[in-house]
């Protein structure tokens, strides 16, 4: 919630410097001192190369992949489930599954698409276990930055609520394209349809989003006008 927002929407995550969180970068260099002599330089190695290494047995190569992608994955889950605890659990689960299914990764293919494929499955399984219901954190439903003027904070709240109100599949396709930086072709692969169909879905989702936004805005304003 704090800090500068990442530039989302242009599909480029490879080559981004990993966020250096306290305890994050430090522990990695510690490992490099004891571990095998190959010193991994995260900035220059592609996801595909790293995942191929994991597939071949160098399990530690998963760590830079975690560093690169776990923030985006967390946000993906937050936007589609709204629950922080579940989202964090799901992120961990994705990497467990990546380890478990590592031999099914095809070197040379796009890691990101494969990862989101796994991520979607993880979410479906998680929902099924909870009978399709995950509690939305109230705090997450109302993101407000301290520096906001009152009106845009309100707009943002309505926007978040409208996004929350979208049906699951429309919201997901919107999140994947608008926030996770996936191209329509990649999303089409994930959803097993044509890129044209994805574009139509995105368009319909945006229209519905606008509709809900106006409904919410009207409802809130009418509420405020009552004595």
């Amino acid at each position: 919630m704090l800090g500068a927002p990442l530039q989302a929407g242009n599909g480029k995550t490879e080559g981004l410097l990993p966020l250096c969180l306290p305890g994050g970068c430090g522990s990695r260099s510690r490992r490099a001192a004891h571990g095998p002599q190959v010193i991994i330089q995260p900035e220059s190695i592609t996801d595909d190369v790293l995942m191929s290494r994991v597939r071949d047995g160098d399990v530690q190569a998963l760590a830079p992949l975690f560093d690169r992608h776990h923030a985006a994955l967390l946000n993906f889950y937050l936007r589609t489930t709204g629950n922080r605890a579940s989202s964090e659990d799901l992120v961990q689960d994705v990497f467990v599954r990546i380890l478990k299914y590592r031999r099914t990764y095809r070197p040379g293919s796009r890691f990101l698409t494969w990862m989101y494929h796994i991520a979607r499955h993880a979410r479906v399984d998680y929902l099924r276990k909870r009978h399709g219901e995950i509690e939305w954190d109230d705090a997450y439903a109302a993101p407000v930055l301290p520096s906001d003027p009152a009106e845009s904070a309100q707009h943002r709240l309505w926007l978040a609520l409208a996004l929350r109100r979208l049906p699951d599949d429309k919201r997901e396709v919107l999140v994947l394209s608008r926030f996770q930086g996936l191209r329509y072709e990649a999303i089409a692969q994930l959803l097993n349809c044509e890129p044209g169909a994805v574009k139509v879905r995105v368009h319909r989702a945006m229209r519905e989003l606008r509709e809900y936004f106006h409904q919410i805005a009207k409802g809130q304003i009418a509420n405020e006008e009552k004595p």
Partner: protein, 272 residues
């Protein structure tokens, strides 16, 4: 959608092209046309604006503990691949079952395995195998706790925390799970119970520094004043040096409710 009845041609085309425009996939000629259209058509412009506005929704920051959780998982995976298979088997097959049934079946399965294991082995072999099995049973109980902490009902999760209390010294995975519950369980009662369980473990032994660090880190993420007060109390009991600075900050920060500030202040005056 008020303009639905007679579609305006240029709007229909614009709407068709918007998704491509949004991902920068329009040819320059088409893009010029679209931008021109957006300048004149209020409705299409509004839709385009929504896409932009979505970008203003804040991006959440992950917390550092997740990396540690990942590290623990990776280490566990490397150390005992066969045990992870057991954990995964648990996840794949036992979680969907209701908890009571899962417990019964698990114990039956374990009993079955034990029996099969006992067929035709020498006495010395048996002694070491029994030791191994005892360790596995301990693991099983821990797996049970971990599973209970993930149940859907708060009452079940509370039972999980209570059960973990009876397992004796906490193993790192359970401790992580309890810290996770402390931070993120939706029920304040479960969080209080988790804190209580952690404090029992943190009272002495090797787990203490890890628990203390976990409590310190959990503090900023708590938003229930009751749990914050309990955390302040725990920190006052454990007395890690870092807690003092934290309590000083809490006692003066008006983001915390008066009860919490009061407690922190009281604690500081008694801190020798």
């Amino acid at each position: 959608m008020s303009k639905e009845v007679v579609p305006d041609n240029s709007c229909a085309r614009a709407e068709q092209w918007l998704p491509d425009y949004w991902q920068d996939e329009l040819r320059s000629g088409d893009r010029a046309w679209l931008e021109q259209h957006l300048q004149t058509c209020a409705e299409c412009a509004e839709l385009a604006a929504f896409w932009r506005e979505l970008g203003q929704l804040p991006e959440a920051e992950p917390d550092p503990r997740q990396r540690r959780r990942f590290d623990a998982m990776l280490t566990a995976y490397e150390a005992t691949p066969s045990r992870l298979a057991w954990t995964q088997a648990w996840r794949m097959w036992l979680r969907p079952l209701p908890l009571g049934l899962a417990l019964v079946l698990l114990l039956a399965g374990l009993g079955g395995g034990w029996w099969l294991h006992g067929l035709g082995h020498s006495a010395q072999g048996q002694a070491s195998e029994i030791a191994e099995l005892r360790e596995e049973v301990q693991d099983t109980r821990q797996l049970v706790v971990l599973s209970m902490l993930q149940q859907q009902s708060a009452n079940d999760r509370l039972a999980g925390v209570s059960y973990s209390n009876r397992l004796g010294p906490l193993d790192p995975q359970i401790m992580q799970a309890l810290l996770h519950s402390l931070q993120y369980d939706p029920s304040p009662d479960v969080r209080l119970a988790a804190l209580d369980a952690l404090q029992h473990a943190g009272g002495g032994g090797e787990a203490a520094p890890a628990v203390t660090r976990g409590l310190l880190e959990a503090f900023p993420y708590q938003n229930s004043p009751l749990v914050q007060v309990a955390l302040v109390d725990s920190l006052l009991e454990l007395r890690p040096p870092a807690a003092r600075a934290l309590l000083q900050k809490v006692s003066t920060d008006h983001a915390y409710s008066p009860e919490v500030r009061q407690r922190a202040e009281w604690g500081l005056t008694h801190w020798q």
